[in-house]
């Protein structure tokens, strides 16, 4: 079995951003001149790294530094603009708690839809539905539309289902944002089990304490480039110091 699960070489990702507000005349002009009236924005610039199977890696960096874009590329959602990427596995990624839910439908309906997106069958979920609702503390709201939940409850709902997903390669993006202390305590068991397992885990978050507890190494992305890659406490220490210096 290949020991390296992710190998990225000189990976870059470019987006096009509009220079000016879009108007009818500007659109016509840009079409006539075959000039798309936009600037190139490199969100990731020439980054190279390797991740070993079984590693627990934190991805840290300021807002907009490219963490989510990197996770989307690794998941296969975005294509890279240039460089090479080899992912030896099928990562299951928890990038946004509202992905795979319809706010107008009931919580019960959404359990089946959200579960399906992450590979869970209806029969399996039917047997687990009480457990999911109980874990998410939403038993009394089972037939309420999802839109009536607070943002914290919505994350609890999604996380309670996602925690049933069996995969040896998982990715999380800001998964514990807007969770209350009580549920964070509940999810601790899940992350502790992940930490002790052989699974490969990538987590992007701003919560240094959380990452420190459940990751062994860290990748610090700054302005689309890798600023530091190493042991978690060293990278987080350097990351924290960067704010004190600035």
């Amino acid at each position: 079995m290949n020991d390296i699960i992710i190998k990225a070489g000189h990976l870059s990702k470019r987006f096009h951003v509009r220079k000016k507000e879009k108007t009818f005349l500007r659109t016509i002009k840009s079409l006539l001149r075959a000039n798309y009236d936009s600037d190139e924005l490199y969100v990731l610039k020439d980054i190279s790294f390797e991740i070993k199977r079984g590693d627990k890696v934190a991805i840290i960096g300021k807002n907009g530094c490219g963490k989510t874009t990197l996770l989307r590329i690794l998941a296969g959602i975005y294509d890279l603009t240039s460089g090479a990427l080899c992912v030896n596995g099928n990562p299951v990624s928890f990038l946004k708690s509202s992905a795979g839910t319809y706010s107008e439908l009931t919580i019960t309906d959404n359990i089946y839809l959200f579960g399906a997106i992450y590979g869970l069958e209806r029969d399996f979920l039917r047997n687990k539905i009480d457990k999911i609702l109980d874990t998410a503390e939403l038993t009394r709201l089972a037939f309420c539309p999802l839109k009536e939940l607070s943002s914290g409850q919505a994350v609890r709902f999604a996380f309670s289902i996602f925690s049933l997903v069996e995969s040896d390669f998982l990715m999380f993006d800001e998964s514990l944002v807007s969770l209350d202390a009580g549920f964070a305590e509940k999810s601790k068991v899940y992350f502790e089990n992940l930490f002790r397992s052989e699974k490969t885990v990538l987590m992007a978050s701003h919560n240094a304490h959380f990452l420190n507890d459940y990751c062994k190494t860290a990748l610090w992305i700054d302005d689309g480039r890798i600023r530091m890659h190493g042991k978690i406490n060293e990278v987080i220490g350097a990351y924290d110091r960067s704010f004190q210096n600035s």
């Binding site: 989307r72 946004k96 795979g100 107008e104 439908l105 839809l113 399906a116 997106i117 590979g119």
Partner: protein, 270 residues
């Protein structure tokens, strides 16, 4: 995507599309879309039948004097035309915004994006099949029902789904680049009832108009085949039927090709 290896990619992609996991996603998406269609509505699914019934009544009273006296079972003829064109319009219109309204799924999950279009298509297909059954019952009532011809209905329906799916791929892709397509499609949809033989027969029109709407409007071969199968009047043309089957397949390959070629740019603009 390299166009030389496109056929192989297409086959791999389609085989993955119907994996166990993706079939489950498609089932749940279709179920959810179906529930959302008539969400918070008192009459629920009845609206899907009220609309064609009212159109049928209006068209029957307007056109029965001009066209209705010339052939047998005119109400059935009208109904087949209305439901076939309505199905095309409603399924394609529902697909237009599918990527932008499901942006969270498109940008945060690895589910194939085609499933979103197919789920919309299947919701409307379900309703279309019920309407077709009503047409078959009417055909029985008029004494023009033929069980042998009915066997030809399934391949035709499948090919029609291919045609609609191809428009779904194209429209939803274009919508991510230019929202104008939504307005253009609303206008086009209104014209479809007039440039498709819904309330008139093709042979009542001038040769140039007939050629234009037969070769220029992809719905026409399908609709004429539906007429010939459901209203077994001895006028079934195999060439027209085979042309419809081929057309659905060609459109599907073309629409899916365009979708796959610019899928990544589409996703980023969803």
């Amino acid at each position: 995507m390299n166009s030389k290896i496109f056929p192989f990619k297409l086959i791999i992609r389609i085989s993955k599309l119907f994996s166990k996991k993706n079939r489950n996603i498609l089932r749940e998406l279709t179920r959810s879309e179906f529930k959302l269609t008539d969400h918070n509505s008192i009459l629920g699914i009845s609206w899907s039948f009220i609309n064609p019934s009212l159109t049928l009544l209006v068209m029957y009273f307007i056109f029965k004097g001009r066209f209705g006296q010339k052939f047998y079972a005119y109400p059935l003829y009208l109904l087949i035309g209305i439901i076939t064109v309505n199905f095309f319009i409603s399924a394609t219109s529902a697909s237009i915004k599918v990527f932008s309204s499901n942006r969270d799924i498109v940008l945060n999950t690895t589910s194939p994006r085609e499933l979103l279009i197919l789920s919309q298509l299947f919701v409307h297909t379900y309703k279309f099949i019920i309407e077709l059954v009503i047409c078959l019952v009417l055909s029985l009532f008029y004494g023009i029902f033929s069980p042998i011809f009915i066997l030809l209905l399934l391949p035709l329906l499948l090919s029609y789904l291919f045609l609609i799916a191809s428009f779904g791929f194209l429209l939803s892709t274009v919508y991510c680049f230019a929202r104008d397509i939504e307005y253009i499609w609303v206008l086009t949809s209104r014209l479809l009832f007039f440039v498709t033989p819904v309330f008139y027969k093709l042979n009542y029109t001038s040769p140039s108009f007939r050629n234009a709407i037969y070769w220029g409007n992809p719905i026409t071969p399908f609709l004429t085949s539906f007429y010939e199968i459901i209203m077994n009047s001895g006028s079934f043309r195999l060439s027209n039927y085979l042309y419809a089957l081929l057309l659905g397949f060609i459109f599907f390959v073309f629409g899916y090709f365009i979708f796959l070629v610019i899928e990544n740019s589409t996703v980023e603009r969803a």
